[in-house]
């Protein structure tokens, strides 16, 4: 620890290497990395060492992860700063960025490449079969059905979520402080519900075919209508829309929280100025408020779009994609695990990947445009 207190004086202008700290830092880095790796492996190979106690394992996991990471960064820092300054200034950023990038590379970049690779291979990924998998999915009606459903989800859910989010944020703004809090909390509540629990609620207590149990049928029959098994009615993709309602219900709160923050950030003077110039409330909203919260609207829309693209749980839990409700993510799951066709499953994900590419390009462009400081 004495080294730490001595460090500040030395870092100001120094060109020489300090071998002791260099070696200590290097050894420390390796040691900590080795310890961390082995602790995590031990957690999975030898649960018995931790008395099979889940809580203990979680605690060890957190300590090893957090403490390990902190120590690792510290040792790397000692190592790099012991180098001559012109090296250390150049190296430190990479040392800080590397762990995060390594994880991203391992979890997302490598699998993406590998999946594209698998998509040209056969069902157990042992031999290449060229474009067979793509030929198979493009001639499969179920695939096109899933794509159209995904497109429907993509158009409907983000739009509705943003509109409802803005509406709620605007209305809530006019309530008393206490009323606003209560209203917002209630609308946000579904966000904390899991897709599975939400599907339970809606599938049974709202959409149930039994008019005695499901609210929708109870209302319909009360007005003299005929009870239906709503979730299986595929006329005009009605059941898909019913499932979208669930997602909108869950995400509106998230949209509202962010949009409400943005609306409150709109300077009051701009509204006043517009009103003095004779704009009505409608014009104030569309010409003054909306342009100023555009950034947040896009953030919310993109977050929801990302979520919708991989929508899985609701469709899977309610009907497992039957009755023409299938979507890409569920189709992928069925191919990979039910039918054990890795090649086709991979090809489906590659198509999904192509679908998100425009969003990806837009995001990167936007970032480039904003410019960095």
């Amino acid at each position: 620890m004495t080294a730490v207190t001595a460090a500040p004086l030395g870092t100001a202008a120094r060109t020489s290497t300090r071998p002791v700290r260099l070696v200590l830092g290097a050894i420390g880095t390796c040691l900590v990395a080795w310890l961390m790796g082995n602790t995590f492996l031990a957690l999975s190979y030898y649960p018995g060492w931790f008395f099979d106690s889940r809580v203990l394992m979680a605690v060890v996991g957190i300590i090893a992860g957090l403490g390990g990471a902190a120590l690792l960064f510290y040792c790397v820092n000692v190592f790099v700063e012991a180098l001559p300054q012109r090296f250390s200034q150049g190296l430190i950023p990479y040392a800080y960025v590397l762990p995060a990038l390594a994880l991203i590379a391992l979890m997302l970049v490598y699998p993406t490449v590998q999946t594209i690779n698998y998509s040209f291979a056969n069902d157990d990924s042992t031999a290449y079969v060229g474009l067979d998998a793509y030929r198979a999915i493009f001639t499969d009606g179920e695939f096109w059905l899933s794509i159209t459903n995904n497109v429907l989800w993509l158009v409907v859910v983000p739009t509705l979520t943003v509109i409802i989010g803005i509406a709620v944020a605007l209305f809530a703004d006019r309530l008393s402080a206490k009323g606003e809090n209560v209203a917002k909390s209630l609308i946000f509540l579904p966000m904390a519900i899991s897709f599975v629990a939400a599907s339970t609620i809606w599938g049974i207590q709202m959409y149930s075919a039994d008019a005695d149990v499901g609210l929708l049928n109870a209302i319909v029959t009360a007005f003299g209508g005929q009870a239906q098994d709503w979730i299986r009615v595929d006329t005009a993709r009605l059941n898909s829309f019913l499932m979208m309602v669930i997602l909108v219900w869950m995400q509106a709160g998230f949209a509202m929280v962010l949009l409400s923050g943005a609306i409150k950030g709109v300077p009051e003077e701009t509204l006043e100025a517009a009103r003095i110039d004779g704009a009505n409330e409608r014009q104030v909203f569309f010409r003054v408020i909306i342009p100023q919260i555009k950034g947040t609207i896009i953030t919310v829309a993109i977050t929801v779009i990302i979520l919708v693209l991989k929508v899985f749980d609701i469709v899977y839990v309610l009907l497992n994609g039957q009755a023409r409700t299938n979507v890409i993510a569920v189709l992928f799951y069925q191919e990979l695990f039910t039918f054990q066709r890795a090649g086709i499953a991979s090809a489906i994900v590659v198509v999904l990947l192509l679908l998100v590419t425009p969003v990806l390009v837009y995001q990167v462009r936007q970032y480039r445009k904003e410019g960095v400081r």
């Binding site: 500040p8 995590f40 999975s44 190979y45 809580v55 979680a58 996991g61 957190i62 957090l66 990471a69 820092n77 430190i92 950023p93 800080y96 762990p99 995060a100 994880l103 991203i104 979890m107 997302l108 699998p111 809530a172 209630l186 609308i187 946000f188 509540l189 579904p190 904390a192 519900i193 899991s194 599975v196 629990a197 339970t200 207590q205 149990v213 109870a218 509106a252 962010l258 923050g261 943005a262 555009k294 950034g295 947040t296 896009i298 990302i306 991989k310 749980d313 839990v317 993510a329 990979l336 890795a342 499953a345 999904l352 990947l353 998100v356 995001q363 990167v364 480039r368 960095v372 400081r373």
Partner: protein, 268 residues
Amino acid sequence: MVVLVILWSVPTLSLLMNSFRGRDAVVSSGWWTALLNPFGQDWTLDNYVGVLQGSDMAIGFLNTIVVAVPATILPVMFAAFAAYAFTFMHFPAKEALFAVIIGVMVVPIQVSFQPMLNLLGPNGIGISGQFVAVWLLHTGFGMPLCVYILRNYMATLPYSVVESAKIDGASHFQTFWLLVAPMAMPAMAAFATLQFLWVWNDLLIAKLFLRPSNTTVIVQLQQLLGTQGQGVELLTAGAFLSMTLPLVVFFSLQRFFVRGLTAGSVKG
């Protein structure tokens, strides 16, 4: 507004109602009968007792906590260092690397299932099925968004503070721990909230990468829903209990949420 709020609360209310009603009542009559005729009902706590005493689900809850807490904290830790470097340091390839992170944010996690099942499974390093595998996956999947949010937030912090710390001779490590990390707390809390909600409510990763004895309550609920019949009455109580912890987390970290998430994006 009132109508909207009521509309939004109805489904949750229905869950709450049914979770306190006996099995026969749930199957034969709507949850709203309990609301219209609260005294004619045989209210019961059996469902909750069943959930907490029936050994499986109680363990499921414990498992979910064991999965969710490290999977929330670890990405924040790693991402914070990266975000610091992306905000306050200059290095070649910085722009390109950050663009990669933004791009990867959109990649659907499905791409990684098959390669990861191979890598973590018996043919690879054999940790699939254990908690560690799921921590690793959630940490990796949450990382891009976390770096992004933290960088956006850190970019709004006064650069002069970091500059003056540097002039005073503080190392980057000290600047990070003593200055930037505490100042970036709102963004960390906001991301932690989101990540916790996602990890807690995740079905796919838990289903694929945890063996049955380690599985989470969400997977158990899904399996209950699939069986129809046996244990249906536990479903509502279990679902309601599974909501409580995320809600507590959200409402306790709520004040950081908006500030942490929208910094940098508001200027549009």
